[in-house]
């Protein structure tokens, strides 16, 4: 479903040219549970941004479900993000002035789903995250773990095929981190493809496949026999 061929991403930092990604080939099958690990500056976040169509490769081809995304326009890419990809961020990126329910509702609102339909889906999603009683709370009234679960509810409300998570536990204590990871693994079991960027080796060990990156290249790609 995800297929990168010879992808390169170059940044110009002052005089220097930095290769964030070099000749990356990566194929991810539907339903896989992948972690991308590596030290800071190894290009793992850039890789995730390209997978999420937030960034474009300078060279190479990115095919998503057989569709070459590198040629698509901004509008079309936004459309794919809306329907096929769900993002989970380290800093949650909840809108503080909106309630938990409204934050979860946002993708539906942006997609133009009718208000009546939205309410039911939001309530269901919050319920699944065990946050039904927190629907009317605002993010600053929630704990870190609750905030990330609101963010997960938001990422999954459009029922995307792919979940991209950037350090989802990086800002959480151990207990709620485990909680969040179990929630994400639940999504994977339900059939979603999950890609997690992390530098927590504990978390890496849990995934079915571990991609290690160094200096913009894929260092090794281990599959756990399951």
């Amino acid at each position: 479903m995800i297929c990168l061929e010879q992808v390169e991403r170059v940044f110009q930092v002052g005089e220097e040219t930095v290769y964030a990604l070099q000749q990356v080939d990566l194929t991810i099958q539907p339903g896989e549970y992948v972690s991308i690990m590596g030290p800071s500056g190894s290009g793992k976040s850039t890789l995730l941004n390209i997978l999420g169509l937030l960034d474009r490769p300078d060279r190479g081809v990115y095919r998503l479900e057989g569709l070459d995304t590198t040629e698509l326009g901004e509008r079309k890419q936004a459309d794919i993000r809306r329907h096929k990809i769900g993002f989970i961020f380290q800093f949650f990126h909840l809108i503080l002035r909106l309630t938990a329910a409204e934050n979860v509702e946002l993708p539906l609102t942006l997609a133009g789903v009718a208000a009546g339909q939205r309410k039911a889906r939001v309530a269901e999603a919050l319920d699944r995250m065990g946050l039904a009683d927190r629907a009317r709370h605002r993010p600053d009234q929630l704990s870190g773990g609750q905030r990330q679960r609101v963010a997960i509810a938001r990422a999954t409300i459009m029922q995307p095929a792919i979940i991209l998570a950037d350090e989802p536990t990086g800002n959480l204590d151990r207990a709620s981190g485990t909680d969040v990871i179990e929630t994400i693994e639940g999504l994977n079991r339900a059939g979603m493809t999950v890609v997690i960027v992390t530098h927590d080796p504990e978390l890496g060990k849990r995934t079915g496949r571990q991609v290690r990156m160094l200096d913009g290249r894929i260092e090794d790609d281990l599959r756990r026999a399951s």
């Binding site: 937030l54 509008r75 993000r81 990126h93 993708p107 609102t109 942006l110």
Partner: protein
Amino acid sequence: MKIDDTLGFAFRSLRGYPLRTGLMLLAMAIGVASVVLLTALGEGARRYVTQEFTSLGTHLLIVLPGRSETTGGPPPLLGETPRDLTLEDALALLRSSAVRRVAPVMVGSAPVARDGLSRETVILGTTAAMAEVRNLSMAQGRFLPAGEASRAEAHCVLGNKLKTELFGNTSPLGRFVRIGERRFRVIGALAPKGQSLGVDISDVAIIPVASASALFNRVSLFRILVQARGRDAIPRAKEAVLEIIRERHDGEDDITVITQDAMLATFDRIFKTLTLAVAGIAAISLAVAGILIMNVMLVAVSQRTGEIGLLKALGAPGGQILHLFLSESAMLSLVGAALGLLLAGGGLVLAERFFPNFPMAAPAWALLAAVGVALASGLVFGVMPARRAARLDPVAALSRR
């Protein structure tokens, strides 16, 4: 994204920053209110002047002896007059079908006395037609009776102030006053009317024109007031007046005819231009409010980069983000304009309470223009921040906390 959702989202983000939103609304409201109030002031001045002129009487032509050679200059009130205007000249004007009434006016000054009280007063010699021509209304008694204009009847009508000075609160009707060397019976008193274009009509004694002629020992009239049959008849009446007098004055054009409507039209033009100019100046404050909106929206965009990045990650294309931010500016300027109209309305009510004689009123076009300019400046100045938001790179926007 549906329109009501776009507006709802914009509304909530405005409500999320109450201080900033409040300040921008204030700026917009002050701008709109100042446009409306200043326009109302100009319009009020125009109406005031129109009112003053109408109180002189309607469809009025003023015939002055002497001729002004330059057009548009003030009529020659002083100076040589080649030939006197006489009572006969005045009465001859009634021959024209365009003329309804003619009131000759002779002006002089004489002491008016009753018992021991004496007062130097302006004496107007005229005829019964004066009451209709000048819209004079009576407080007591009646005006000069209609009749032969050349008969020097010994009765008079007193202006309100003069009546009070001489008779206090007692009725002057049937009493006698001495004007110059003659005795006149008081037959009426004018209702208070106040200042009317500089002539204090309350401080005069009005006597028949023939009596005035005898009193001042002269035949020349100060002016002749002519009332035309209607607004359309005014140009014809003017022609007729010029022709009749020319005929009687051996073919000499030695009079000046001023039409009240011409003066009115001039003043009307002047005040309309003035109103527009003042409104234009006030509109600058709207532009300033627009720039403030731009400034604050730019700050908002840079404060909300994370949110914009998130919206992009959630699948909002640049166009949608542009709409969201433009909706915010449009909402700000509309709500600000509405507040401004309320503010202006309050100001007008206050002004009316303190200056009841000054007819301040905001014309409808000013209201529409103020709101239109407010909305336009909000949108025009909102475009730049909105475009900046739409073009943000989502990766950079999300990487910042």
